[in-house]
């Protein structure tokens, strides 16, 4: 394959990564924005979503019905688990930022190790509901002007297109929820000033549990969407957490639009860099990037500078 089609293939793969990443990072960003806590266990909610997708799909006997069922059930279950963790643990820490991080590290290991005990160390696939291969054309300057041709290997599956579309739809829904509904208004009020919101009769504790559950459900949804492409494995949360940290920090903590832009940027460049360079080197660059952004521009590359 020539360089051009190869680059296009890499960016298509990158777009799929970006879509999943945007969903996951939006959850992390939402939780940080409203509750001012960093949820280190976020990657495990993603992993749980993927693992539950396998469990539900295999109980339903595979096929498209199993996947659709998983798409509905896994985020609900994971959201409920997260809300329960919020009520039993985080609430009693008064959402103190440092103690919450330590507690969510604990939660990370609890979820991960329980999955290891229940599900085992194997990686397991889920069959995509549809998986038609769509060949893509490429333009080449031949004799007498541009010509279209179909290079061998340049293609995308219908399922991957569905992932990109589904992520965009869910993010649009999240935006509408935050800006156009009563519950979104409550969340934004809590984000601005928790005590004042409480004084105006907003059930802040329930809003917190809801937001923590919603953030986890978004991660779980990302996990369900990715599982037909990657397999479900109990350690898959670590890399996903790292990438979503990168996205949220570069996009500016707590800003949804910044998060989506950063997810596209990071997802695309991760796909492209990993194709051309060693993945380890790409990860080193990414981690150092996060560290330096936090040190020198803590409001994020796209966030507003705090006054």
């Amino acid at each position: 394959m020539d360089f051009g089609p190869y680059l296009m293939l890499a960016s298509l793969e990158g777009a799929v990564t970006a879509a999943v990443l945007a969903l996951m990072a939006a959850g992390l960003s939402l939780v940080f924005g409203v509750m001012r806590v960093v949820n280190v266990a976020h990657g495990e909610f993603y992993m749980l979503g993927a693992v539950l997708a396998w469990v539900v799909a295999s109980m339903a006997g595979g096929g498209a019905a199993g996947f659709v069922l998983a798409l509905a059930v896994a985020p609900l279950v994971v959201g409920a688990v997260a809300a329960a963790a919020d009520v039993t643990v985080l609430k009693h820490l008064d959402y103190d930022p440092e103690r919450t991080i330590v507690a969510t590290i604990g939660l990370l290991y609890i979820l991960q190790q329980l999955t290891l005990m229940g599900y085992g160390p194997e990686a397991r696939p889920v069959e995509p509901p549809f998986n038609a291969r769509i060949a893509l054309p490429w333009v080449e300057w031949g004799q007498g002007g541009p010509q279209l041709y179909w290079p061998w290997g340049l293609s995308i599956t219908s399922y991957k297109l569905f992932v990109i579309g589904a992520a965009a739809a869910v993010l649009a829904g999240l935006w509408a929820l935050m800006t156009h509904t009563r519950i979104g208004l409550m969340m934004r009020a809590t984000q601005l000033d928790g005590e004042m919101a409480q004084a105006f009769g907003i059930p802040v504790e329930r809003v917190y549990a809801l937001v923590f559950g919603l953030g986890a459900a978004l991660a779980a949804l990302a996990g369900v969407l990715i599982v037909p492409i990657q397999q479900a494995h109990y350690l898959m949360g670590g890399d996903a957490l790292l990438l979503s940290f990168i996205v949220v920090i570069i996009g500016g903590l707590g800003s949804l639009a910044g998060t989506v832009i950063a997810a596209i940027l990071i997802g695309m460049s991760d796909g492209i860099i990993s194709v051309f360079f060693s993945p380890t080197l790409a990860k080193i660059i990414a981690t150092l990037l996060v560290a330096f952004v936090l040190v020198f521009r803590p409001e994020g590359l796209m966030g507003k500078r705090a006054r």
């Binding site: 507690a103 190790q113 329980l114 080193i284 150092l288």
Partner: protein
């Protein structure tokens, strides 16, 4: 230094020395490991317990000590004494650089910056797999592990060497926190604005704490490599940044004697549970959640709160 403080800490060392003659081989070996890891916890405690800075990346200092010692020893053959020194210097240099950068941030950002730097160090070790051999690691030969004529692979010498290092770290930090500079660290932990208003240079004190903490952690890493003859990338993983936090939280942050009991307790808890299940990190997770919820002071911290107010 008051007599009872000296008696308590000297007494611990004396008990550990006595145990050298009493313990069966299995627990004798375990306790040597616990003492080296306790040095790591003590180093972590200088930053977390006494200065109030929560790092999530101390594995990079442990690994810097371990690889700074192991690689020159294995590939350049410089001898264990110089190699140990090289390990200390690598950890100190890394701590200085990381401190200069990370201390520009505070709170949650400091935690994430240290986590990211540590991850970058871990990945660099994997990237340099040609020399470090990645996860597989480098095994140090018996002949390489001769320290001033002492064969560190011998179980008895190993135990006593670990005890010597542990005693050194214990009394060094005990001395440090009773120095005026150590008192300033505690003042920074309690209220850094107020400490700044009193005219102390907060940044330099914090930087010194990062370097001291990193160097002690590096010493523990270098000693671990020398005493147990193995240098591997597992020790640079996130887990090894979480462990010292767990040990110190369990034993009691901001106490001199606490980290040792944190390591001892956790080591045996994981040792016992790994016989039952491969998911032994579950214990660590549950312990972290329970500690933050119910006993943020840890064992020695609770003891100090209830009985022994003089505990340093």
């Amino acid at each position: 230094m008051t007599a009872r403080v000296l008696a308590l800490h000297g007494g611990l060392i004396a008990v550990l020395l006595a145990l050298h003659f009493l313990l069966p081989a299995y627990h004798h070996g375990n306790l040597a490991r616990v003492m080296v890891l306790a040095c790591y916890a003590i180093g972590y405690n200088v930053l977390f317990g006494y200065t109030g800075l929560l790092s999530l990346g101390h594995a990079m200092f442990f690994a810097a000590g371990m690889y700074g010692m192991g690689l020159p020893l294995h590939f350049l053959g410089i001898g264990a004494e110089l190699a140990f020194l090289a390990g200390l210097l690598s950890a100190a240099a890394l701590a200085l650089v990381v401190g200069l950068l990370a201390l520009r941030t505070a709170g949650v950002a400091f935690m994430i910056v240290t986590l990211m730097f540590s991850e970058a160090v871990y990945l660099t070790i994997l990237l340099a797999g040609k020399w470090t051999r990645g996860d597989e690691g480098v095994v140090l030969e018996r002949a390489e592990r001769v320290f001033f004529g002492l064969d560190l692979s011998d179980p008895d010498i190993r135990y006593l060497a670990a005890l010597a290092l542990f005693a050194l770290c214990l009394f060094l930090t005990l001395w440090l926190v009773r120095q005026p500079a150590g008192r300033v660290l505690i003042a920074i932990r309690e209220n850094d604005e107020r400490a700044r208003l009193l005219g102390y240079d907060i940044f330099r004190h914090k930087l010194a704490a990062v370097v001291i903490s990193g160097t002690i952690s590096g010493a523990a890493g270098a000693a671990y490599g020398l005493l147990f003859g193995y240098v591997g990338a597992t020790f640079a993983e996130v887990q090894y940044s979480i462990f010292p936090l767990l040990w110190v939280l369990l034993g009691g942050a901001g106490t001199i004697i606490g980290p040792f009991f944190g390591v001892l307790f956790m080591f045996y808890l994981i040792d016992l549970s790994s016989g039952i299940t491969s998911a032994y990190m579950l214990i660590a997770g549950i312990a972290l959640v329970l500690l933050t919820l119910f006993a943020p002071q840890g064992l020695a911290g609770e003891l100090r709160r209830r009985r022994m107010r003089w505990l340093p």
